[in-house]
Symmetry: C2
Subunit: 480 residues, 2 copies
């Protein structure tokens, strides 16, 4: 036997041992080791990341995960936690070495408890986000986290990545919606803090350390989520205006006049609207065309007066020449159409060839100047490139995507991904912005992170990782 | 020379060297080493903790603090950070050994920047909380953190302890009001994350690790704070009801009818009201007497309809027999009187002899049962003891204080502090509550913490402390 073959046999024998042990912990039918069975866990929706794995395990309880990790720690086997496999930065996809285990939380989807007076819901990490929303709605409450992948992403994945979405303006990021957490550490210890308390100053905030750590510090297995009253009145406007600067003036005015009632403030460029109208069954809202649009929604517990307040806001904005035109949804059907124009924006870009993505945030004040700079810099580097900048203006978070020039070669365009990224991220960093506002770091931005992050912050992150996962078995190669 | 004297001389020579170096860093007039000069920094308002120090230093910049800590790390000199010296658990008071340095942030009180579009304010850690509020008000904004000590506590201390107060229900704890942070680590490295971003998923959440760590992981030197619109309408009611159970029903109804407009929901027991009326110049509000009261406030950006909504809520509560009587403040003067009845509660207890304090929270659902149990258990252990349970019902946080029996010996009563604590905390822990909802751990609850906290959480806290402060120079003996 050549030494190559020997070593291959060695690996296989070791692998068989690992598989046997995993099967003993989770049950044989919850360990998938055949290539076709694993395939769906090894590549992600955008098909940018594709990995290999020794197997996919689907444990049924926190206790099983604890046993699994204890074993993995002993054998220095690395583990990639995975929820709904919808992440956009490759955090949930194993690397290419083939010796990692994908730990899918999919079987752990139980509703543990709802407490209406405390306004809390305790769920297992594998519950699909849309089911979390539905369970809250069934008891007359709102769980406000809402994002494009909500039909398949899991709450555990949302917390591991501190997901954002369209309701952040009013309700905060995923981390703001959590009271308590249960997580399994790298060595199998279970950190149990399923607290329903809004106020609890007994030591360090470990909860927020695990939330947003992308499975590199521990595996989140359950959480106590905050529930909110469902709004009784919602008023939606689709507004045409001249520029992001005008949109910012509208935001300031809206905050002043409607404050906490603003639940949506999304920026849409005309080019994005054109893409949606061209490729999907959606209707133009305003009779006039405008360079930019804002989707604005106000929500209230009280049925009275909200429509009047929205109209007063639009009238004031009109008088101050902040807006050019506006329509208020007069029916649920109209509201759905308004939202479609926003929600189909990412999909619509697919039909226009390659799209180089940026999920960035800058201080809100800086958005207009940043967007002007970005458009200039990108088209100067690549004449004909089409900036499609849209998203959560109220949070300072713009998906600053670049569609390829009409008729350009898609692959040649995508080959310039890093170059275009560097241009946009350079502008972001100059304005003390973030190169990942809501999608996280994963594999995609791992090498970029040390270039933009405070040096000491990087050192502290590495020290904490080393402390909590000294053998580097939890999602290695992600974030750090 | 006896060896005692030798060692005393040795300490003094070493101390002189340390003082010289501190003076070189901060300037001689900012190093206080005489006993009378230090006195105000060594004991706290309730006079429960009294320590000794080598000196008090008052650095003037983050750079100076970095140099100080680098030196302290080299010489293994421990440092006690101090803001306004208003903490209630002894976290800011040095231990009794006399070799610690008190690092007062008082000189670092600059307003670094206000950004109105981003709704942020960047301040040095030593700014007094009431000045933070005033600076926000000057530009037409609200900084909502509000608590009894606001005239002398500093924002840095508020963040180090994750302070709570009367606005938590609507705006969250201190940690929820922060976007960015600057902190100096134990070895003098400066972690600089003065971000204005609402969304930033680039790595671990270090900010929340430092907030609430009571100066044991780093010294917070500056922060970016969130500003809010000032409410245009405020409506205040003083409500009489039969029980905490009724108060909880009122909270549920208020949430349902007024949702995000509830900014205050404070529980007041009749006995507390009696104390205030007896010892201060304040007026009874309702013509009838009730076992319990709620101070309820609604706030809105819109001037229209808020009074009507409050009335509708009170009428609905009356129809459902949830409340017994209520008054709505018709003038600013009346509103002030309502608030006085709440704010003077802690002071009023001083006039009734000894008071054994509990700053606890339990899941909101459990508050009525918990309060019944606590009253029973305390009076059974100590007949005649008077439970004065008041506070932030909407947050599940009750200051469950016990005033001494009438005519009892105060010192004999206070000698039973730990015993009464153990009774109340036992009930809290049985309901998965917190033994420190908002005041922190400090020295007061340090030895209690391991008895009530999840074992793994304690281990992780210790591991993080060891990683970030291996020589244990940052506020040793506090929290852990």
């Amino acid at each position: 036997m050549s030494s190559d073959v020997e070593s291959a046999v060695g690996v296989n024998a070791a692998s068989r041992e690992i598989l046997d042990r995993l099967e003993a912990i989770c049950g044989a039918k919850h360990v998938i080791a055949d290539v076709p069975g694993m395939e769906g866990f090894l590549r992600e929706p955008r098909d940018r990341f594709h990995g290999k794995a020794l197997c996919v395990v689907q444990p049924g309880s926190t206790r099983e995960i604890a046993e699994l990790l204890k074993f993995c720690q002993e054998t220095a086997t690395s583990v990639v936690p995975q929820g709904g496999n919808t992440g956009l930065v490759g955090g949930q996809v194993p690397l290419g070495s083939g010796d990692q285990i994908v730990l899918s939380l999919g079987r752990m989807s139980a509703l543990r408890e709802i407490d209406l007076s405390s306004n809390t819901m305790t769920v297992d990490a594998g519950m699909i986000l849309s089911r979390v929303q539905e369970e809250a709605a069934r008891v007359g409450r709102l769980f406000p986290l809402s994002l494009a992948a909500e039909g398949s992403c899991t709450i555990g994945g949302n917390l591991a990545t501190n997901a954002g979405g369209t309701n952040v303006l009013a309700y905060g990021n995923a981390r703001d919606l959590v009271l308590g957490l249960e997580a399994v550490l790298a060595d199998g210890r279970i950190l149990s803090d399923l607290s329903k308390l809004k106020k609890n100053n007994t030591g360090y905030d470990l909860k927020n350390l695990f939330i947003g750590s992308e499975g590199t510090l521990g595996i989140i297995t359950a959480a106590v989520l905050k529930l909110y009253p469902r709004p009784r009145a919602i008023e939606t406007a689709f507004i045409g205006l001249a520029s992001p600067r005008a949109a910012l003036a509208l935001l300031d005015l809206a905050r002043d006049m409607a404050g906490g009632e603003i639940t949506t403030f999304e920026l849409i460029p005309r080019i994005g609207l054109d893409f949606v109208l061209l490729h999907f069954d959606a209707r133009e809202v305003l009779s006039s065309k405008h360079p930019w649009y804002v989707l604005l929604e106000l929500s209230s517990q009280s049925r009275q007066g909200l429509a009047a307040r929205l109209l007063a806001l639009l009238e004031a904005a009109n008088e101050k020449h902040i807006i050019e035109n506006a329509a208020v949804a007069a029916s649920l059907d109209q509201r759905e159409n308004f939202w479609k124009l926003r929600e189909l924006l990412p999909d619509a870009q697919r039909h226009e060839g390659g799209s180089i993505k940026h999920d960035v945030s800058v201080p809100i004040t800086d958005i207009p100047a940043f967007l002007e700079e970005a458009a200039r810099a990108v088209t100067s580097a690549m004449p004909g490139a089409r900036l499609v900048a849209f998203g959560h203006l109220g949070d300072g978070n713009i998906h600053c995507n670049v569609s390829q020039p009409i008729g350009a070669d898609t692959q040649a365009f995508l080959d310039r991904w890093d170059e275009i990224n560097a241009i946009v991220h350079g502008l972001v960093v100059a304005r003390k912005g973030s190169i990942s506002a809501e999608h996280g770091i994963g594999q995609l931005k791992r090498d970029l992170l040390p270039k933009v992050k405070d040096k000491v912050a990087m050192e502290v992150m590495r020290a904490i990782k080393q402390t909590l996962d000294p053998k580097n078995i939890l999602n290695p190669g992600k974030v750090l």
